[in-house]
Symmetry: C2
Subunit: 421 residues, 2 copies
């Protein structure tokens, strides 16, 4: 223990000031990637970083890096951060907490005049949410080589078609810092859990051992459009009845692999979607998650079999099940996860190990650098919702753990010649 206290009140005040940007009437925020609100949030963050004496750079995909030099400038930095963009009806903490917690770590180091061995960088990744520009986690994806920079810059806004690259330029965040290939000593991301486990367990800290794997599908059910009145029940090819049976079965697959599995249909499009027309076509998306790849594969097989069966039982519908995203389970770095556990114990907080069900920038960063996450509880497990809420005391606890874990990593980066003895 270094006896370097973080300032929980300052952290909370910064979160609340940031939440005014894009604030919604129901207490949430709408701060879509590369929007005017995103620009305002970035400007505020950059101002705070400069006030903290940090050197700010922006890369070509708009990721912001704010660097606090270490004793040894040649060491790769320890990074901590998250994202400033939000869902259209998002909350005050998803993403924002990880960036503000990292800022509070640096401010605390400044308060105490503490000089770390390796440099420390705060990062705010571009477009984690993927709401306005798909796919999600673009900034960290480019940084880690998952996505091609040129391709990402051409992604269109899902309403107006404006390109991400042009929008970044418009808001003044198309920078020149190198986007990929930089060596990072360690990456930490503090985040609200976005689920109910920590709150129910009554612990303020989750040591995140990794992220669930994900398989995403697009399912298209095709029947025959017909007039709802004169078409006898026995003659129908009602794509919606078939889809309803499939949605029920997706849910059953999730329950069959509980407690670690999740299985969700969140998006449905019915055609022609007219009250008195039998639907001829239904499109829906399936989201499967599990920490173990063999279970995900079993769920995959079950989905395909159940959809075929439901289609056959529903008047001979056609069904196409297309996997369009696969994301293997990602274990985080055991050394860093261990360091999060040790810091939590040393600070006297109860904690539990947890697996992240959501995608985070940390999942891409785990491809390029030792990575770990710190979760704190959110109220009722609710996130991606204007009601998203978290307690100041938990947020401060997570920040204190982050500070210790960041410094452990920054001190561990002494060149081997200097270490030991």
């Amino acid at each position: 223990m270094r006896n370097l206290k973080v300032n929980g009140e300052r952290l909370w005040a910064s979160l609340m000031e940031l939440a005014r940007i894009g604030a919604t009437a129901k207490g949430g925020v709408c701060r879509l990637a590369a929007s005017d609100e995103d620009r305002a949030a970035r400007d505020l963050f950059v101002r705070w970083c400069r006030e903290a004496g940090l050197q700010v750079t922006v890369d070509a995909v708009g990721n912001i890096f704010a660097r606090r030099e270490g004793k040894n400038r040649d060491l790769p930095p320890v990074m901590a951060g998250s994202h400033l963009d939000s869902q259209p009806t998002g909350g005050k903490f998803d993403g924002a907490y990880g960036v503000m917690a990292a800022l509070e770590v640096v401010r605390s180091l400044n308060d105490h005049g503490y000089e770390s061995e390796a440099p420390i960088e705060i990062v705010a990744w571009t477009n984690e949410e993927g709401s306005r520009f798909s796919p999600a986690m673009m900034g960290s994806g480019v940084f880690t080589g998952v996505f091609d920079l040129a391709w990402v810059k051409e992604r269109p806004d899902n309403l107006t078609g404006a390109r991400l690259g042009a929008e970044l330029k418009r808001i003044g965040y198309a920078g020149t810092a190198p986007s990929a290939g930089r060596k990072v000593a360690a990456y930490f991301e503090a985040h609200i859990e976005q689920g109910p486990i920590l709150e129910e367990a009554g612990v303020p800290i989750g040591a995140v051992s990794g992220a669930k794997g994900q398989r995403w599908y697009e399912v298209t059910v095709t029947g025959e459009e017909a007039h709802a009145g004169p078409t006898p029940m026995g003659k129908r090819k009602d794509a919606l009845v078939g889809a309803a049976r499939m949605i029920e079965r997706v849910n059953r697959i999730g329950h069959a692999h509980a407690p670690d599995a999740s299985a969700t249909v969140g998006f449905v499009q019915v055609s022609p979607n007219s009250r008195n027309t039998i639907p001829g076509r239904v499109f829906f998306a399936v989201d499967f998650r599990h920490p173990e790849d063999p279970v995900l594969s079993a769920m995959d097989r079950e989905l395909k079999a159940e959809c075929e069966e439901a289609a056959a039982e529903s008047g001979g519908l056609a069904v196409e099940v297309k996997e369009f995203w696969y994301f293997p389970p990602t274990p985080f770095d055991p050394r860093l996860v261990g360091s999060v556990r040790r810091a939590t114990e040393a600070l006297g907080y109860p904690y539990r190990d947890i697996v992240s069900g959501a995608g985070h920038d940390a999942v891409y960063m785990a491809k390029a650098a030792p990575t770990a996450m710190i979760f704190v509880p959110c109220k009722d497990g609710i996130s991606h919702n204007e009601r998203e809420d978290a307690k100041p005391v938990d947020l401060a606890a997570g920040c204190a753990v982050l500070l210790e874990a960041v410094l452990d990593a920054a001190e561990a980066e002494k060149p081997s010649g200097q270490s030991g003895g």
Copy 2:
């Protein structure tokens, strides 16, 4: 038998010429009520009526009446018609056939110089489809006193909010002829069946004995929006899983009352409809139809019980089932239905009795005048679809039956003093 042949080729040619207005790439038509396309169709119809020597009037809700005088001008007219508007991706025959068949009846009478006792009027009702302006069957609804004229004129376009009254004025079809209270001796409507029964039975004519009753509902299922990844299956209040179970049960209710019942969910709205968010709210519409009121009432009770049960079984969701339209079963006039049967037999066509599953202007007209309908087969029973199709020979047969039935009614209208031996 009067030996007054209709001209099936002229009827077909008029249908095809009309179908060019609002023609879609897939062979259907898009001719929304009071649109520019509706205006063009009305203009063409009015021109043809004037060329046939008819006197054209338009009432305040845009219904067009084209009158062929009878020997006795004081007798109430026999009316035949339907509508010229279509669904957004509708077919060439729904509505258009009833108007063009009535026009062909009048043209045939002209060919033969036949003078009917009572006047004959062709009618084209405004906004039968209800796609652009809700509710459906507005023109016949105002004519028969179901809807208030002032209220109907204020109905907004479902996209732009433009009012029907203003749109009728814009296209030049806000007229001054009296809208309601006119005495009508008989009303006939020829229409494609919009179902598969006649085609499968291999008969060209359906003598429509009445229309099914309808009960329409709006169901709102409320659960809790949450992130699809981190929320355990056992903790979810997934409104879509509940709605899927309800949709399956609506279908089961329909099958339980087959063959005469129909039960359809055609419209579904999922909130927030995001791939990785558990739906917090689902809104869907239920359409129940049956020729007998007690069965409809049983279906109503079953719907409410099944929705409650499905909500309870799906993690304790809330469900609201709101009936928003009720339309009792409508028997058509036995004398006129008998006259359709007799005409069909006399012409040598096979036929069967049939109950209309769809709403038609005839259903409102049945409130105000003796009414009957004549159905002809449509290909594969498909309607409200750009693939909607019908055979020229069947359309001509229906028109021939219409002519006989119209003349029977027009001759029956001799004042009682003149009738009899």
